[in-house]
């Protein structure tokens, strides 16, 4: 399929945007990465995702697909030859979807709470919430990986993509707060998993370096503190 037939609208720092890119890499599908300018939304984005006006959007031919995890499932179904992204067993699929939903609905908001926490005590409490969540995921990892390196077993899969896309931001949070969130003592499995994930060929060119992401985080914080643009 010609590269221009598959486009991803997004931005390099976004964990959500990383997901379809990793999925396309797993399937060895070429795509054009169209980056949005920070602070504004392109005509193409507004046209392709009128409901939410958010990235990522996958444009396949002329058809847009929105919502990062829905895009990943779409990619797995369209390019259905191996390697598979979703597990083959329905119960394992439900489990992977459950934890992906947990990561988006609980873990990510709790990471954001660390940023907005006011004062030492609040920050400590917010950090503890994230650590508690990661301990749950450590347990999920032990069960899902079935002895393999990844949540998907021997190969990276849906839950690796869903959770792994946050590793860059987890590392930034660790750096800014001088704390270990993925910790040898509490989450040894996840420590190894995060390294393996980031080193994976489908991931390594998509996952930004922690320092670059940290710089961006500072830009983001400044932009949020500034008065809103007209």
């Amino acid at each position: 399929m010609a590269k221009s037939d598959v486009k991803v609208l997004g931005a390099w720092p976004s964990p959500f945007v990383m997901r379809p890119r990793i999925a396309l890499n797993i399937k060895s599908v070429d795509y054009e990465f169209l980056q949005e300018t920070f602070g504004s939304k392109s005509e193409l984005l507004l046209k392709s995702n009128p409901v939410h006006k958010k990235i990522p959007v996958l444009i396949h031919g002329d058809k847009p697909v929105c919502e990062s995890l829905i895009i990943v499932e779409y990619i797995d179904e369209v390019w259905s030859s191996a390697p598979s992204i979703l597990p083959s067993n329905p119960y394992d699929r439900a489990t992977a979807r459950f934890w992906a939903s947990y990561v988006d609905e609980k873990l990510f908001p709790s990471m954001k709470e660390i940023v907005s926490a006011d004062g030492e005590e609040a920050k400590k409490a917010a950090i503890q919430v994230v650590v508690d969540g990661l301990v749950l995921l450590e347990d999920a990892y032990a069960k899902c990986s079935k002895g393999g390196k990844f949540f998907g077993g021997e190969q990276i899969g849906y839950l690796d993509i869903a959770f792994g896309s946050y590793v860059g931001w987890l590392r930034v949070t660790e750096k800014f707060n001088q704390v270990k969130l993925l910790d040898e003592a509490k989450t040894p499995g996840l420590v190894k998993w995060a390294e393996a994930f980031c080193a994976h060929p489908a991931v390594k060119d998509v996952m930004p370096e922690t320092d670059k992401l940290a710089e961006f985080a500072k830009v983001l914080a400044k932009a949020r503190a500034a008065p809103p643009p007209k």
Binding site: P90, Y91, A94, Y102
Partner: protein
């Protein structure tokens, strides 16, 4: 193989309702267990330790949580009868998008139509109608979101219809006046046995909402 299905649920929950309808569409027998959400059963806490929420489908002793995930699970395991998701990947992505949209928007906005007052309530009513209008656009001229038969969007949305009376009465607005197509769709869905035998009575739901409002000091 003898399948054991237990559903931990709460009768007015629009999320539980979607699982009940999915099970009915597939013609599946299951044990329904009513949870007292103020006094959650040990089984619920054991089966959904992360969220401690209903609905939970327990299939041969193994729990499946999160209503949208349960519906897809049911559709995948019992795939021979009444498919709830389309087979085309693009259409599947669209169906999933709209279920996700319903989950992100409708519950919170609907809740605000009866749990807030003044300007906040007016805002909630306006948003609620906008959400339904977007869904009406999606429905278009089809009898159901799933086309000729119920799909996962229909199954996920219809559970809200028994709450419409509560939203309208407490919010003092008419959903039918603004969104007649949705009301038409509700009527068509209600002609389906899986829906008519599952949906709780709207007045009964209203009674429950009144109790909630008393509890929150809104009455």
């Amino acid at each position: 193989m003898a399948e054991e299905l237990v559903l931990l649920d709460f009768w007015p929950s629009m999320f539980g309702i979607r699982v009940r309808i999915a099970l009915a569409e597939k013609g599946l027998k299951y044990e329904y267990r009513e949870e007292d959400l103020t006094n959650k059963s040990p089984l619920l806490l054991q089966m959904n330790p992360v969220h401690k929420k209903i609905p939970v489908l327990v299939h041969n002793g193994k729990p499946v949580c999160e209503s949208a995930i349960i519906v897809e699970y049911i559709d995948e395991v019992w795939h021979d009868k009444s498919p709830l998701l389309p087979s085309d990947p693009y259409q599947r992505s669209q169906a999933r998008f709209w279920v996700d949209f319903i989950d992100k928007k409708l519950y919170d906005t609907g809740r605000r139509t009866w749990s807030t007052t003044g300007e906040e309530q007016e805002k909630a009513k306006k948003e609620f109608i906008e959400i339904l209008k977007l869904l009406e656009e999606q429905l278009g001229d089809k009898p159901f979101f799933g086309g000729e038969s119920l799909g996962n969007v229909d199954v996920s949305l219809i559970g809200f219809s028994c709450w419409f009376y509560s939203y309208e009465t407490l919010g003092n607005f008419s959903i039918g006046a603004e969104c007649p197509k949705i009301i038409g769709w509700v009527e068509r869905c209600s002609n389906k046995e899986s829906v008519s035998k599952t949906l709780p009575d709207s007045k009964k739901v209203f009674g429950f909402v009144q109790e909630l409002r008393k509890k929150f000091g809104l009455e």
